[in-house]
Amino acid sequence: MIRFFIGLFLRATVVLAGTALATFALLWHAPGDPALAVALARYRAVVPDAVIDQIRAEAGFDTGFWTAFVHWLAPMLRGDFGQSAVTGRDVGPDLLTALSYTTPLALLGLLIGLAISIPLALVATKRPGQWMDRISVALASIGAAIPSYWLGLLLILLFAVQLGWLPAMGARTAAHIILPALTLGLGVAASLTRILRSGLLEARGQAFLPAFHRRGVGAHAVERDHIAPHAAIPVITVFGLELAFLLEGAVMVEVIFARPGLGTFLVGAIEARDFPKVQAVVIVAATLFVTVNLLIDLLYRVLDPRIGERNA
Amino acid sequence: MLNVDRISVRRGKALVLRDISLSLEPRRTLAVVGESGAGKSTLIAAILGLVPCARGHVTWSGAPLGSARPSLVMQEPRSAFNPQLSLRRSVLEPCVAQGLAPDTRRLERLCDGLELTSDLLDRRPFEVSIGQVQRIGILRALIAAPPLVLFDEPLSALDAVRQKHTARLIADLQAEEGFAALVVTHDLGYAAAYADDIAVLRAGKIEEIGAAKAFVAAPQTAYGRTLRDAAFALGALERVA
C-alpha cells in the first residue's frame, strides 16, 4: 500500500518535471529571443545590446540548454512566475484574476452538463435500444461532433443577435455568464451522456443482478445499493476526463465570448509572444491536472482495492 | 555439443532451478523426467535464454547457443502458431528467417513421416485437430535441419499408435542428420525406449543423471526408484521397453 502511494507520487513528480521540460524546450526552440523578451519586460523600452547580453548571462541563456532550464525552473518552484514581457506586471496575480473568471464558468458548465446528461442517461437506459435510448444516443453523437466555438457562435446568433434576450460579449454582469456556460455545458452533456449510458448499461448487465430480482429485492433498492457504486468508478474517471474537456472548452468559449479568463489570458499571451504568461498557464494547469489525476488514482484505490493501477 | 554449466533460475525470491549441469553430444538424446512442477519447462526456457539465469551459462561448442539456432517443440502446440497465418507460412518461417530456400522435397518427406497431408498446411491452426497441430509443430522444429532440438512433451496430444510412429520418425531422422535432442517428458516409458540418457529432475534439482538402461535396471536414488516403480505399476515401462 505504502509502496503504491510512493509510486504514485513519484510518477506524478516525473510527469510534472516532464511537462516543465517540454515547455522549456518549446520556448527554447520558439522563434524570438527570450533575453530580449525579459529586457523588454524589465525596462519597457528599447535597450542596448550590452544589457540584453547581460540578461542572457544572468538567466543562463548563454550557458546551454540544461543550465538555462534550471535557472528558468528555480523561481517557478517558489511560486514566482516573473513579470509579463509586455506589460511588466507580475504574472501571478493576473493569472489568479483570470482563474477567478474561469472557475465559475467551468463549474456552471459542469453543472449544466450534469443536469442534462444524468436524466438523459437514466431515461435512455430504462429501455435500452428503444426510441428514447436512440434519441439520446443520437443527441450525444451530434453534440460530440459540434465544435464548441461554432455552438457558441450559434447561441450568440440566436439569443443575443436575433432574440436579444441575453448579453454575449464580455463579463460585466452576472447574466454574461449564461451563454458561455450553456455552450460549455452542452458540450459536457454530450460526452457525459455517452459515458454515463455505457457505464449504467454495464452495471445493469452485471451477472449478479438477476439474482437480486429473483429474490424479490425491489427495483429501487437494486438501483440504489448495487448499480450506483458500480457506476461510481466510471464517474470518477469521467471527472478526470471532463476536467480536460472543461479547460479545453473554456479556452475556446472565452475567446468567442471575449470573456476575461484563462483562455483569453493564454491566447492573448501567445499572440503577444509573452513567454512568462504562457509558461505560467502551462505549469499551473499541468500541476492542476496531475494533482487531480493523483487524487483520482487514490480514490480508485479506496473504492476498489482490486484496482492496482489505472491504465497500467 | 550442448553444455549447461551450473545454471540457476530465480522466480521472485525462490530458486526454481538450482545448479543444473548437463551436456549433450550430437546424435544423442537426453530425456529429462520428473513430476509436474519440477521445473522441466523452466529448464528448457533457461537453456534457450527465454528466461534469465541468475547464475551459470549455456554454450554450444563453446559459443552462445542462440547462434546455433536450436529449435523447440512447445508443450502447447496450438499457441505456437499464429492464428492469423496459414500453417505453411509458420512451418517455413525458420527457413525464411535464415534466408534458406524452402526445401520442398524435405517438407514432403517430413510430412509423409508425420502422416500429414500437404493440404493441411494450407489451413489455419484452429482448423486442424490438436494432434495434427502437435505434429506440425514437430515438422516446423525439424524443417531447417537444426543441430539441437528441444522437445517439451512432444507426444502428449497423440494417441498411442501415433506416439510410436512419431517417436520412430524422430529417432530415424536423428540417426540420419545427427541432431542432438533434449526431451522433457513425464512418460518414463518413452524416455527409456528412445533416450540414451535420463536425468531425473525434482524441485529444481537434478536427482540423478545417467544412462537410460542403467536407470531402468537400478535407479541410484530413492526418488528415482519411486518414479520407476510407478511407471512399472502403470505398465508404461513394459509396454515400450
Binding site: V15, L16, G18, T19, I146, L157, I270 | M74, Q84, V96
Partner: protein, 264 residues
C-alpha cells in the same frame, strides 16, 4: 453499418474530388458582390471578399479533411512505434516512455496544440507538428498493451528462436493483432484532428488566410455575423457532418469487431 461506411467513403471522396467539382474559383475576389445571399450563381452566397462560399467549402475539404487524415496517420505511426518500443524495449525504456506518455496526457491536447502551434508561429507546418505531437498517446498506450500480450505468445517465441528479423516479426506477428484496435482509435483521432484543425484555424494559429480551411472561414465569417449569419453556418455544418460521419463509422467498426470477437 454499410450505409455508414458509404457515408464516410463519400466524405473522403469529397476531400479528394471536392476541388474538382467546385463551380467557381475559391480565390476569385468580387467586391461588388460581397456578402451576397444564396443565388443560382452562388448556391451558398459569397463572403466578405465576394468569393463563392460553396467553392471555398469544397476546396476547404481538401485542407481540413486532408490535413486531418495526414495528422491522424502520423500520430498512428509515431504512437504505434513508441508503444511497441515500450512493450519490447525492456523495463527502463518502458518506464521512460510511459512517463513521457503520461506527461503528454497531463494536458488537454487541444490546449497543448494551441500553445505549440502558437509559439512556433502560425503556419500549416506548425499546425501539423502541434496536432501530431499532442495526438500519439492513445495509440501508444494501446499498442503497448497489445504488444505486451503478444510478446509472450508461443508463435512470437518461435519467431524469436528462428531468428526472424524484428521488422518481419512486427509485420507478421504484431501487426495483425494491433490493426483492429488501432483502426478504431484512428477513426476517433481523425475526427478529433478535424476539430483541432478547425479550432486552431478559428483561433488564427492554424492554416492561414486566404486558404479556405473551414475554421479559417469561420473566423472570417464571424465578423459579419449580424449582417450575413448564413455565411457562418455553412463551414460549421461541414465540420459537424464530417466529424459525425467519421465517429459513426468508428462506432460501427468497433461494434463489428466486438461482434467478431464474440463469434470466435
Amino acid at each position: 453499418m454499410r450505409s455508414i461506411m458509404l457515408l464516410s467513403g463519400a466524405l473522403l471522396a469529397l476531400a479528394v474530388l471536392g476541388p474538382l467539382i467546385a463551380p467557381n474559383d475559391p480565390m476569385a475576389i468580387d467586391i461588388p458582390n460581397r456578402l451576397g445571399p444564396p443565388n443560382p450563381e452562388h448556391w451558398l452566397g459569397t463572403d466578405a471578399m465576394g468569393r463563392d462560399i460553396l467553392s471555398r467549402l469544397l476546396h476547404g475539404a481538401r485542407w481540413t479533411i486532408g490535413l486531418a487524415f495526414l495528422i491522424s496517420v502520423a500520430g498512428l505511426l509515431v504512437g504505434t512505434a513508441l508503444g511497441l518500443l515500450s512493450a519490447l524495449g525492456g523495463k527502463v525504456v518502458d518506464w521512460g516512455l510511459m512517463r513521457a506518455t503520461d506527461t503528454f496526457l497531463a494536458f488537454p491536447d487541444l490546449v497543448a496544440a494551441v500553445v505549440v502551434a502558437g509559439l512556433l508561429g502560425a503556419s500549416t507546418g506548425s499546425l501539423i507538428f502541434a496536432l501530431t505531437v499532442t495526438g500519439w498517446m492513445r495509440y501508444a498506450r494501446v499498442a503497448r498493451g497489445i504488444g505486451l500480450s503478444v510478446k509472450s505468445r508461443g508463435y512470437v517465441i518461435q519467431a524469436q528462436l528462428a531468428g526472424l528479423s524484428p521488422l518481419a516479426t512486427a509485420r507478421w506477428h504484431y501487426l495483425p493483432s494491433l490493426l483492429p484496435s488501432l483502426t478504431v482509435i484512428w477513426t476517433g483521432m481523425f475526427a478529433r484532428a478535424i476539430l483541432g484543425i478547425s479550432a486552431l484555424g478559428f483561433l488564427g494559429f492554424g492554416v492561414q488566410p486566404p486558404v479556405p480551411e473551414w475554421g479559417t472561414m469561420l473566423l472570417d465569417a464571424r465578423i459579419h455575423m449580424r449582417s450575413t449569419p448564413l455565411q457562418m453556418i455553412w463551414p460549421g455544418i461541414a465540420v459537424v457532418c464530417s466529424v459525425l460521419a467519421i465517429n459513426l463509422a468508428g462506432d460501427a467498426l468497433r461494434d463489428d469487431l466486438a461482434g467478431q470477437h464474440h463469434a470466435q
